[in-house]
């Protein structure tokens, strides 16, 4: 005979009570796991959608305005290129992507376009400390990471190809041209284009975006710097920042790091994501709160009923020499076993619910999150132990007279 055996046998002596209590905690934990799982993938989906809208932080020269940037970032002032290094080497959290740009207005075939110098990924990779920072495409790390979801959120194939080529490599004599440039000048991939008396081979035509990017000619940043004779400068750094970090003061931190630049946020983008994330987070907290209350009440009720039913047995054990500590341990162990079973079962059920209901309810693909087993078991055991504390104490303080009377 061991305490574990004693508790185990008793639990199965009253199967219906046990089943009711187990189902209550199982369903509660399943709902929490399910909400957490769906919320996680919903946030990622929102992040991805908003990401498509572009950068959410801009580092501009002091004299520039956001309007200048959107009207084709042709402000006359500039900032040193080394700001990119400063940002990349800093310990700032939440910088998901940096994209330095130098733009200037150019005339090609009597039409006015924007020449934009960008830094290809190979340049970032050449410097070990910069690895992880991408260009054009978000590196898919940190808060907006959805890359591991197969066949979900994938951009169109052509776009991916174009991006990959740009991200991976862009030689000093290569250029990418926007949709309008190609259309108006009747250019296609493989043709060449002359800009400021320099000829570039067109390595890709970008898909139509409906933005100023359609009227841009993208070339290597250092080639553009050379053509404009401006030296190692840029006139904008586009940053995709993690929204939580932005709301936690990322902009102020960048401002402090780069005091001679102007740091602005694209507030609509950031606000939307922050609000969405906050709403989802609050919603799941409300559910967790309700589950905890219902769970504590349900298990405490079961435990109190159990103590009442077993008062003669408890009194007998005391008469046989059981200490009050042992009686408390008996009920807490029962709570622990119930919590463990409810937590593991709740995780399995909740994950199944999330995976099945996610696409139907939220329109997103949801994958199992093994780390939620820790939350599920922790919460379940915590709730079960919390709910068992008072009944266990009342059992340990039971009037032993009950042992000697007909109950």
């Amino acid at each position: 005979m061991q305490l574990r055996k004693l508790v185990w046998r008793e639990m199965f002596e009253r199967k219906s009570q046990l089943a009711t209590s187990f189902i209550a905690i199982l369903l509660g934990i399943a709902v929490v796991v399910s909400i957490k799982n769906i919320t996680f993938y919903s946030e990622k989906a929102v992040a991805r959608e908003l990401d498509a809208l572009g950068a959410n932080i801009l580092v501009l020269p002091k004299s520039a305005s956001v309007q200048d940037y959107y009207s084709a970032d042709m402000q006359s002032d500039d900032i040193p290129e080394e700001y990119v290094t400063t940002l990349t080497l800093s310990d700032l959290q939440g910088l998901d992507n940096l994209s330095p740009k130098l733009s200037a207005a150019v005339e090609i075939g009597d039409r006015r376009f924007t020449l934009t110098g960008i830094l290809p990924k190979s340049e970032f990779q050449a410097k070990a400390a910069w690895q992880g920072a991408g260009i054009f495409a978000r590196p898919l790390e940190g808060c907006g990471d959805v890359a591991d979801v197969p066949d979900v959120f994938k951009p169109p194939v052509q776009k991916t190809l174009v991006r990959q080529r740009v991200v991976d490599d862009l030689a000093s004599d290569e250029a990418l041209i926007g949709f309008d440039v190609a259309d108006l000048l009747s250019l296609k991939e493989g043709d060449s284009i002359e800009v400021l008396e320099r000829t570039f081979a067109i390595s890709a035509v970008l898909p139509q975006t409906g933005t100023v990017d359609d009227a841009r000619v993208f070339a290597h940043l250092h080639a553009v710097q050379e053509m404009l004779g401006k030296g190692p400068v840029i006139n904008a750094i586009e940053i995709v920042g993690c929204c939580q970090e932005i709301s936690a003061g990322l902009v102020e931190k960048i401002n402090k790091l780069l005091p001679d630049a102007k740091v602005v946020t694209v507030t609509q983008v950031v606000d939307t994501q922050v609000k969405t994330n906050r709403m989802m987070s609050r919603l799941s907290m409300v559910f967790i709160g309700i589950i905890i209350l219902v769970g504590v009440a349900g298990i405490a009720n079961y435990m109190y009923a159990n103590v009442f039913e077993r008062r003669r047995e408890i009194g007998t054990l005391m008469a046989l020499g059981a200490s009050s500590g042992l009686i408390v341990r008996m009920f807490l162990l029962k709570g622990l076993l119930l919590g463990l079973a409810g937590g593991i079962g709740g995780f399995v059920l909740g994950t199944a619910m999330a995976v099945i209901l996610g696409p139907r309810v939220a329109g997103i693909v949801v994958l199992p999150m093994p780390m939620l087993v820790v939350l599920a078991v922790g919460l379940s055991v915590g709730v079960a132990l919390l709910a068992s504390c008072l009944p266990a104490r009342s059992a340990a303080r039971l009037d032993p007279c009950a042992t000697f009377q007909e109950v």
Partner: protein
């Protein structure tokens, strides 16, 4: 062995003080066999609980050898009980979901005896009370007489010096009652101290001392042999 010094118990029932036991003082020497008799509500069970370290007196002391039971910590009291006292209950109080053998193992488990030793000693004790073939049976599968014998085997598990019995024959037929009383005699003959609450005059007659309680007070406490006749008053 057991000594009560002016013990009084007052219960508070709905803000009304009810006297359970009044100023009781007596000695129970080692090897004695005491029958506590008296009408219902006279304080018999209260006294037995107090002697067993299960119910603290409102005033007075209960001494088990040199230890004042209610002046030590509850855990020390539980250890003293475990090592010295065995309880026999009127309704046997077996744990319903455990087998006969496991029920006898419970006091051994509480005394931290290893599981293999628990099983061996429990089986030996059950054989001693004639239930060697009923080891895996649950209480619901046993007759009342067998249940009480399991309870007796359980009492003996920790080899107690004192056995406190609350109406041990109250729920039994005359034949089984006689068997149980014979067991108690046998245990007393082994040198154990027996204190039993009883309404049964035949059971009381077997005791060496009879303590009669009326209204929470000890009315008589004398050797059974000095009594002129078996108890006929206030008994069933």
């Amino acid at each position: 062995m057991l000594r009560a010094e002016a013990i009084t118990k007052i219960y508070d029932h709905h803000k009304t003080a009810v006297i359970g036991l009044r100023d009781a003082t007596f000695d129970i020497p080692a090897g004695d066999f005491v029958a506590i008799v008296g009408p219902s509500g006279s304080g018999k069970s209260t006294l037995l609980l107090m002697l067993g370290g299960m119910l603290s007196p409102t005033s007075g002391r209960v001494l088990l050898e040199a230890h004042s039971l209610y002046d030590v910590s509850p855990n020390r009291r539980a250890r003293l009980r475990r090592g010295n006292i065995g309880f026999v209950f009127q309704t046997f109080n077996l744990v319903p979901y455990l087998t006969a053998q496991e029920n006898v193992q419970v006091p051994l488990f509480l005394a931290s005896v290893g599981e293999a030793e628990q099983e061996k000693r429990a089986a030996d004790l059950l054989r001693r009370v004639g239930l060697g073939d009923r080891l895996p049976h649950k209480p619901s599968e046993l007759s009342v007489g067998e249940q009480q014998r399991v309870a007796l085997a359980r009492v003996l598990a920790n080899d107690p010096k004192i056995i406190l019995a609350d109406e041990p024959t109250g729920n039994l037929d005359p034949e089984t009652s006689a068997q149980i009383m014979e067991f108690l005699d046998e245990l007393n003959a082994e040198g154990r101290t027996i204190v039993t609450v009883t309404h049964d005059p035949r059971a009381a007659q077997r005791a060496k001392h009879v303590m009669r309680l009326v209204g929470g007070a000890i009315e008589e406490n004398e050797p059974a042999s000095m009594r002129p006749a078996p108890l006929t008053k206030d008994v069933r």
